[in-house]
């Protein structure tokens, strides 16, 4: 009973709530000595330590809980731009794409896959003599886009003034052809009078052109793989 009372008094002493009488009682019972009193002093000082920090300051330091709303991302604008770019590419490809091959071109024999580099082929439409003279000296080299056939040059007697004459030939060609049926095609200055030879040579030349076009198309196919990121 007595020890329980002293135990309570000791707790009060260490808690700093014991009165002077209680402390003297503890001292008289030798439960508390000088060191304990010094220790109690230290505890009193310890309890006086406070943190200078108010709740308002704490609340000011807290980042806002509000969810920041950012303006809606303009995804639709990007999509429209991407679609427009795709349309532009498709349109450009449609315009610049070579014309579809005719059945005649498809019938070209496989032996003529590539144009021979140094082979010069002069295919002159059937024209009146004076127009042929205008067209004969100038030849225009038509280069294909293919790397493989970069050397392959098809020389034709086509020239800008000649185009005019071809047009004329188109309009007047029937009558001219009917008037001068001696030759049908001139190849390297030599007129071909045999119809079968003329057709064969014409086919061959057209086959070469179609082959070049086919190669060009093949080379341009990777364009489809191009991806545009916006």
């Amino acid at each position: 009973m007595k020890s329980g009372k002293y135990s309570e008094l000791l707790d009060k002493f260490y808690a700093g709530t014991a009165s002077a009488e209680e402390i003297s009682l503890l001292q008289s019972e030798a439960l508390v000595d000088e060191q304990d009193i010094l220790y109690a002093e230290m505890l009193k000082e310890e309890r006086g330590q406070k943190m200078d920090w108010e709740f308002e300051d704490f609340m000011k330091g807290i980042p806002s809980d509000k969810v920041k709303t950012f303006p809606a991302r303009r995804v639709w604008m990007k999509r429209i731009l991407a679609a427009a770019a795709m349309l532009a590419i498709i349109g450009a490809a449609y315009i610049l794409w070579p014309l579809p091959q005719t059945d005649k071109m498809a019938n070209v024999p496989p032996s003529n896959k590539t144009a021979e580099p140094n082979k010069e082929l002069r295919a002159t439409a059937v024209l009146p003599a004076d127009e042929i003279e205008d067209a004969s000296p100038a030849t225009e080299k038509v280069k294909t886009a293919s790397k493989k056939n970069r050397d392959a040059v098809v020389n034709t007697d086509k020239k800008r003034p000649v185009q005019k004459s071809i047009r004329q030939a188109d309009t007047t060609g029937v009558s001219n052809n009917s008037n001068s049926p001696e030759y049908l095609v001139i190849v390297n200055g030599q007129p071909i009078t045999d119809e079968a030879d003329a057709i064969a040579i014409t086919r061959e030349s057209l086959g070469m052109i179609s082959q070049n076009l086919t190669l060009t198309v093949d080379e341009l196919k990777p364009i489809r793989e191009i991806k545009i990121k916006l």
Binding site: Y14, A15, Y39, M42, K50, W53, I62
Partner: protein, 168 residues
Amino acid sequence: MDAVRFKAEVFCWKNLLYRLALRLLNNAPEAEDAVQHIMMKMWQKRDELDDIENLKGFVIRALQNDCLNRLKKEQTIVQHHGQFAKTQSLSTEVSQGNMVELIKGAINKLPEKQRITIHLCDVEGFDTKEIADILDIDEGAVRTNLSRARQKIKMQIIKLQEYEERKV
């Protein structure tokens, strides 16, 4: 938990937490930082705090863990030991005036469990059961730690007084 309840149930322990952090870290700015950090963490978890049975104990334990983590950091440890060394060097200049400071130094030298126990019991006035809950040890261990800690401090004070008498 709204701000008013947070203030009444958590923020009100700031001084207690500060003193405990100061006891553990022995560095006032570091102790303030630890308390602020814990308060911020508690605020972030304020919705979960309602489910905690012993909120006071939970907050004290969180601070204790935070302080121990800080002590693990090399820089803090070096600083900590540096201050101990400083205290020890000062112990040669014992006088009655700074006896209280020397007792504080003696407490800081105690093992961690004893230091926390003596602080929570003698400074903060927690009973053994509360301390046992906070430290997750049984009450008998709390009493043992408390008794040993008080005994050690008493011995330190006696040594200091003897040294003082010899000096005089």
